[in-house]
């Protein structure tokens, strides 16, 4: 153990953004950059290998609200590490892309608060802490939309707030019932995840509680019937918020499913797999279909994001190691690719003043680097092998086919639809006779610097995803073992 | 034994209900306040009866506190009556519907 490991890195990771948020307000928005760099530094120094016994890489446990049996406990394993990296990368991008657009320190302060919430969600090992972070994650972004969004920002913010709040209140209800149930059974009133996991929940109740949690998480993802908030919120939000919503908050939804809903109610899981798979497939097909007919770039990417998230849900439903690893990896991949597409849309809008497909065209002739990157990330999004989305998709499809062939067959239709809408985007934006003015500039250095690491990640995850598959291997194995033991899987 | 506790309670209940009926029926603000006073006194009686029953001073002490609170309440209430009379020209409660939704 060297000295560095003895500092409570996770707690620091979690609380530093809050300090940064204060710093933004008290000093200058540059504090946001320092904070995020520091965070990235900390995250990169976290070791990626756990001990032999458990899959925890780190575990930190502090006293918190003793009365309620709530502790400030944070745990990090391969999966959460991946998510932490994703969060910090996207947070850095979000700050970067907003830098010249929004001058107010409050904006960055809110982003940082949200960052803290997201990290908390990915690390919390205590239900109350999880719930707290879950709300902290969302509210600043709602505020950002309401304050800095487009013309219909208030409605969009409200829609988002109401949808997700309805979900999260159900989640709180489920947590409280679990808490009481566990307390009655053992006499130990505790919110600790490990403790609560051992509660014997009557099957009927477990079904309801699972439904509550599932609803809360799937609204956040969202899968198709629950996605009503998404198009407006994505369209109206500032790009930084859009990419956080799609790149990080959606992941938090899936993360919650994997980390809470499944382990807490393993025996209920088999009753819901078909429903989950159907929801995933509906998302894939419906999202792909709707993406094809959108005329607003941001909405197009938003629906594409829905379609891709459908794959992730499908992978979870497939319930075998391959598909699950694919799903978890895909969380990262989707985060990077979708965020990059949103960033590119913002760049296009910044230059041409429009996001309407009809107004654009021939970008390649004016800004080849921008056009090339749009092409590149579109190819990633449509699942070209060798780029990151393919990695996840093929694992999910292989796994899904292994358990239920029809799921994978319908999923494959989604792959075709992806090609349809992504190529439509490229066709209408990049190719054709240029419609924008002669004077628009190609990407400048800062913008390239923002996108180049993302492109690098796209290639890395597409060509050599092995280290990351190993990272999620243990968590998936542990969860599957847990599920099998508790009757969640044959 | 003087009386069973139940009789004290019943009597207090009678007083209370009588006060309540006045509060509900009368329209003159002053009469309503009188009704409230009676209800308060009914409660005081219960406290005193209980104190005697358990042979414990607390009941009486609470009755005293009650009296003090009642005094405070009634002084404010009467001030309000005066104020209302002055500003609205009436103390008929049926004329006060400022809280109508």
């Amino acid at each position: 153990m060297n000295g560095l490991l003895q500092i409570p890195a996770l707690s620091v990771l979690l609380l530093l953004p809050l300090v940064g948020a204060l710093g933004c307000l008290a000093w200058d928005r540059r504090a946001a950059i320092f904070t995020i760099l520091l965070e990235v530094g900390i995250a990169l120094t976290l070791p990626s290998e756990g001990g032999a016994v458990s899959s925890w890489i780190r575990y930190e446990d502090w006293q918190w609200i003793e009365r309620f049996g709530a502790r400030f406990s944070l745990g990090l394993d391969g999966f959460s590490l991946l998510m932490v990296w994703l969060t910090l990368v996207l947070m850095a991008v979000a700050i970067g892309i907003s830098w010249f657009r929004y001058q107010q320190a409050g904006f960055y302060s809110l982003l940082l608060i949200s960052c803290s919430g997201v990290l908390g969600v990915f690390l919390a090992q205590d239900l109350l802490l999880f719930y707290l972070c879950w709300e902290i994650m969302l509210l600043p972004l709602v505020l950002c939309i309401a304050l800095w969004g487009g013309t219909k920002r208030i409605q969009a913010a409200f829609k988002l707030l109401l949808f997700t709040l309805a979900g999260s209140l159900l989640m709180l209800l489920a947590f409280l019932i679990l808490f009481l149930l566990h307390g009655r059974q053992t006499g130990d009133y505790s919110f600790a995840l490990q403790a609560v996991m051992s509660t014997a929940v009557p099957p009927d109740l477990a079904g309801w509680l699972f439904a509550c949690l599932g609803l809360a998480f799937l609204v956040k993802v969202p899968v198709v019937p629950l996605h009503g908030w998404l198009p407006d919120a994505y369209e109206e939000a500032p790009t930084a918020v859009t990419l956080l919503l799609s790149g990080v908050l959606a992941k938090a939804g899936v993360f919650g499913l994997v980390r809470l809903a499944l382990p807490l109610f393993p025996a209920t899981w088999p009753d819901y797999t078909s429903l989950m798979a159907v929801l995933g497939l509906v998302s894939i097909v419906y999202g792909g279909w709707m993406a094809y007919v959108q005329t607003d770039l941001k909405r197009l990417v938003a629906y594409a994001s829905v379609a891709h998230l459908g794959f992730i849900v499908l992978g979870l439903a497939a319930g075998n190691a391959m598909a699950m690893q694919g799903s978890l990896l895909q969380l990262f991949n989707h985060g990077i690719t979708t965020a990059a597409l949103f960033v590119l849309v913002a760049f296009v809008e910044r230059r041409t003043g429009s996001r309407k497909l009809g107004d654009l065209g021939g970008l390649w002739a004016r800004a080849p680097h921008l056009g090339g990157l749009i092409l590149f990330f579109s190819l990633a999004a449509l699942g070209l092998p060798g780029l990151n989305i393919f990695t996840g998709e093929i694992l999910i499809l292989l796994g899904a086919f292994a358990s239920r062939p029809w799921w994978a067959v319908v999923g494959m239709v989604g792959v075709l639809l992806a090609a349809c809408y992504m190529l439509r985007l490229v066709q209408e934006v990049v190719w054709g006779e240029p419609r924008c003015s002669e004077t628009i500039a190609d990407l400048h250095r800062g913008e390239v610097a923002l996108l180049a690491p993302m492109a690098g990640l796209v290639l890395w995850f597409g060509l050599y995803p092995l280290p990351f598959l190993h990272l999620v291997h243990n968590p998936v194995e542990n969860m599957l073992v847990h599920l099998v033991m508790k009757g969640g899987l044959p | 034994m003087i009386v069973p506790l139940g009789h004290v309670l019943l009597f207090a209940g009678l007083l209370f209900v009588a006060g309540l009926a006045a509060v509900l029926l009368r329209r003159n603000l002053i009469m309503i306040l009188i009704g409230v006073e009676i209800m308060l006194n009914a409660v005081g009686l219960v406290l005193v009866g209980a104190s005697a029953y358990w042979r414990h001073p607390s009941g009486q002490l609470f009755a005293l506190l009650l009296m003090a609170v009642a005094a405070a309440e009634i002084s404010i209430a009467l001030a309000l009556v005066v104020y209302l009379k002055r500003s609205r020209g009436t103390i008929d409660v049926n004329r006060f519907d400022g809280m109508k939704g």
């Binding site: - | 309540l20 005293l64 009296m67 005094a71 009634i74 009556v81």
Partner: protein, 169 residues
């Protein structure tokens, strides 16, 4: 003897209360109320609370009732309620409610085994009263005194004539 006294006093109090509440003239009502309060004071004495009985006379029958009279005098016009405007059976629901409440409460009281227990003679001397009050509820007394202060200030404030406001309303 004491038992009989209790019932007699109770009857007097009840009668006074009913008469008080049915008067149209508030002055009459207050006078009947004074009677009822005196009766209550005697009941207190009977139930072993001489100190409280004294307070009842001084505070209620004395101070508060005088306050009432002052106020009534202060606002003399239309002291008399007009005849019931909303039909003759306006009292019906309230009557039903009162009866029902009484019935429920009465049954509940009678069903309670406690209620069958009798009150035996008991006396809390003023000294004991004071001791108990200040030993155990000293803080409460302080708080109450504050409340009374606030009430006094409030009443003063409400009673003041606001020149502008009054004209406006």
């Amino acid at each position: 003897m004491a038992t009989l006294l209790f019932y007699i006093l109770a009857a007097i109090v009840l009668m006074a209360v009913l008469l008080c509440l049915t008067r149209n003239n508030p002055v009459h009502a207050v006078l009947y109320l004074v009677h009822a309060l005196f009766g209550l004071a005697l009941l207190y004495f009977l139930l072993g609370a001489p100190m409280l009985a004294a307070w009842q006379v001084i505070l209620y029958a004395g101070a508060i009732m005088v306050l009432f009279l002052f106020v009534i005098m202060l606002i003399d016009p239309d002291l008399f309620e007009k005849k019931a405007s909303r039909g003759r059976f306006r009292w019906l629901p309230v009557g039903f409610l009162s009866g029902a409440l009484l019935a429920c409460g009465g049954v509940l009281i009678m069903m309670d085994p406690l209620a069958a227990g009798g009150i035996v003679r008991y006396r809390l001397s003023p000294r004991a009263f004071g001791r108990a009050l200040f030993d155990e509820y000293g803080l409460a007394v302080e708080i109450l005194s504050l409340i009374l202060l606030f009430a006094a200030v409030g009443a003063f404030h409400l009673g003041r004539r606001h020149k502008g406001k009054e004209d406006a309303s």
